[in-house]
Amino acid sequence: MSLDLTRRRFMAGAAAAGTIGFIGAPTARAQATGILTFGLSSYPPSFAALQNAGTAAGTVKLMIHRGLLSYDNAGQIRGELAEDWGVDESGVWTFKLRDNAVWHDGRPVTAADVKYTIETGAAEGSSAAYTTSLQLIEKIEMPDAKTVKLTFSEPFATAETLFAHYNMPIIPEGSDEEALVGAGPFKIDSRERGVSVDLVASDNYYKPGLPKLAGIKAVAYADENLRVAALEAGDVDLIEYVPWPAMGSIDDNPSLTLDVVEGPFMYLTFNGARKPFDNPLVRRAIAHAVKREDVVDAAFFGRGAGLAHLPISDASPFYNPQYADAWAYDPEKAKALLAEAGHPDGFDCTLLSTAQYGMHTSTAEITQAYLSMIGINVTLDLPDWATRVQKGNAGEYDFAVMGTSADSNDPDGIARLIDPALPPSFARSINLDIPQITALLTEGRSTFDTEARKVIYEKLEGIAIDEVPLAGLCWRAQGYGMSDKVSGFKNLPGQLTFYSGLTLEETALS
């Protein structure tokens, strides 16, 4: 098999044209200057490279690590440690590594490192975010030190988004669980748990002239008001997770910039083991009963938009306009569905959310208020986040509020939120029996032709609208705030917002 046989995106010629400067020794690096202070929304609970440890951890990992692929500022897949990649007709993916890609300690990045990363993530008992996907890789071949061929047990069309995810970086062979040595633009200098992480520019980064900063001081500001105050007072240069009430003041401040995208979203999940939530008619009734504008106003100060279908953006080629308002606010329809389900007078139930985060609490309160109008008497269960997570994983709830972002802008990026066949998780509904969704997700993942995939996901969304594996409530604006001294940082579009740490390599301070 040759790379010449690849059917799509082979060798990313266009990308290579734009990144020709990558070739060559990293000695061409310009003198990096300035230490950027980055206000994180929390201290990363873990630095484990392959583990999903939330947004702040993702941002720090994007400073330290690089994967085979990543995204450019427009949200398009680009080569990272892999300069060429493609898939052949038998579904074997081949990645050709850059010659000048090296680890922080100077060793070259090799195919053996990629193999080690995949095997570590796929190992039984691994806590990697993508263990299930990695376990589909049944053969890893290394024709030479810079080439890796991956044979999946079934065709795997979404390998690009998998290997572009920030929870799927490549780590050096023999790394321990944390894997703090990476091939990214910065390396850890020191850290204090709960407080800050100090990073310095890597001398070995493979992109000439990058990073532009001499270092980053990532400081955890768990209190969102202080995070904003620190930005306004000039204590920090850049903050993530700008709180929604503060977006206006940052936007109006001439010395600050607010970079906002809509991508992350809020939704309801259901426990099919608790009656009447096993009934899709009830789930649909709930989906029709909530006025989404009020959720946007109450929880996000108007910074967002209603979401009355699956979280697939209208900018996506997989967007299905006929479903745009499929779960639109319609109390009469909701009542009719409840009556059809045998609950004309409603019922009593408990909604799980958390008091720890205002957006979750407000969303729950609005949902409670609207459901009361169709006779559903909701009691709120608002424990701290730790308890909410445990209750969600254990299925100790009737229905629940959740907020997140998809893994990518590809429709398969929401698979982990709607596939009822996956193991229990607080992030998705539990005990639902909708095998058609699992089957269509699998089919979509194994289909390489975009047009054919569109048909599959359209069918999937139609089924999801009826079965309601999740009830979308609203898109929320996700913002970064920065001082006017900062240039080059970019909030990546849509669901990729949490990948924005990628652009820290191009960020400079004036």
Partner: protein, 318 residues
């Protein structure tokens, strides 16, 4: 006196053990599994096998009484245990963060006593006057305003609007002394505000009470100068309850600076406790609470000894 001190120490040790035990048990009763939490920080499902493996590794599969016994025997060897989050010794974390909390509290106490005692004395000696009324009014406002409101307003005014102080954060004194002190000012003043109010009120009422006593009247009748009466006779008695209350307040502040540390991102021990509870990091929570209780008890002991030095009657009753 020695017997009294020995008895107090024995009771103190018992108290600290009780607190540690109660916190240990309570933490195991509340929902939230540390292993699951450590693996559930993103929105991806933790693999049950991974959770089980982590529980085993952290020793959480053992029955509670075994964990408790291990913990007690560890304590007896002077080992506070290791963090479940990153395996670092709890004692190391406490040693790193406790001085920062103490620095905040001690600075606040110095500011509060430096302001509170003179103002309280002045209010008492000029009872009903403008100073008294202003001080009483300000103390009432300071006591009824939650510290996080004071902190937030201070940040809004001094950091965001006037831009004359940093909003929060921490830099080690050794790294940058000026920046360190700059970052200390607002949180210390915030902690000091309610403490100052308590000291003003306490000093005022204690001085007033002593001023009414017969021996003061007698001294005054002998024609001794008021300033001398105050310094020689009144303050010596009046400061006993002030010292007691200030000491007790300091103990309370050890746990009570949580909100101030949170609001100002001051990386002390109190704020760290909140994060440890969030993560259900059992050894860390118990270790921190144990440290705080021990200090609280120690401060009480010191206060009693100080009182005994100031007032012989305390010694006699002991």
């Amino acid at each position: 006196m020695l017997a009294y001190v020995a008895q107090r120490i024995a009771v103190a040790v018992l108290m600290v053990w009780l607190v540690a035990t109660i916190v240990f048990l309570l933490l195991h009763i509340v929902p939230g599994d540390p292993a699951e939490l450590l693996l559930s920080t993103g929105s991806t499902a933790p693999d049950p096998a991974a959770v089980a493996a982590l529980r085993e590794k952290l020793g959480l599969n053992a029955p509670i009484y075994v964990q408790y016994w291990d913990y007690l025997t560890g304590l007896a060897r002077g080992h506070l245990g290791n963090s479940l989050q990153d395996g670092t010794p709890v004692a190391e974390q406490v040693a790193l963060r406790l001085p920062r909390t103490l620095e905040l509290i001690v600075t606040a106490a110095l500011v509060a006593t430096a302001i509170g005692i003179p103002v309280g004395i002045r209010a008492a000696t000029h009872a009903g006057g403008i100073t008294d009324r202003l001080a009483s009014g300000a103390a009432a406002v300071a006591l009824s305003t939650p510290v996080f409101v004071i902190g937030t307003l201070a940040i809004l005014l001094f950091a965001q609007t006037l831009k004359i102080a940093p909003a929060g954060g921490y830099v080690a004194f050794a790294d940058n002394p000026v920046r360190h002190l700059g970052l200390l000012i607002l949180p210390a003043l915030t902690v000091a505000t309610p403490l100052t109010a308590v000291i003003v009120r306490m000093t005022r009422s204690a001085v007033l009470e002593v001023l009414e006593r017969d021996f003061v009247r007698a001294v005054r009748a002998r024609g001794v100068a008021p300033r001398r009466i105050l310094s020689r006779h009144v303050l010596r008695s009046a400061l006993v309850p002030v010292v007691t209350v200030t000491g007790l307040e300091l103990g309370t502040l050890l746990g009570g600076t949580v909100l101030v540390e949170f609001v100002y991102n001051w990386p002390g021990l109190s704020g760290f406790l909140v994060r440890a509870v969030d993560a259900r990091d059992y050894p860390e929570v118990v270790g921190i609470v144990l440290t705080i209780s021990a200090l609280f008890v120690l401060i009480n002991l010191v206060v009693d000894l100080l009182n005994a030095m100031l007032d012989p009657k305390v010694r006699l009753s002991a």
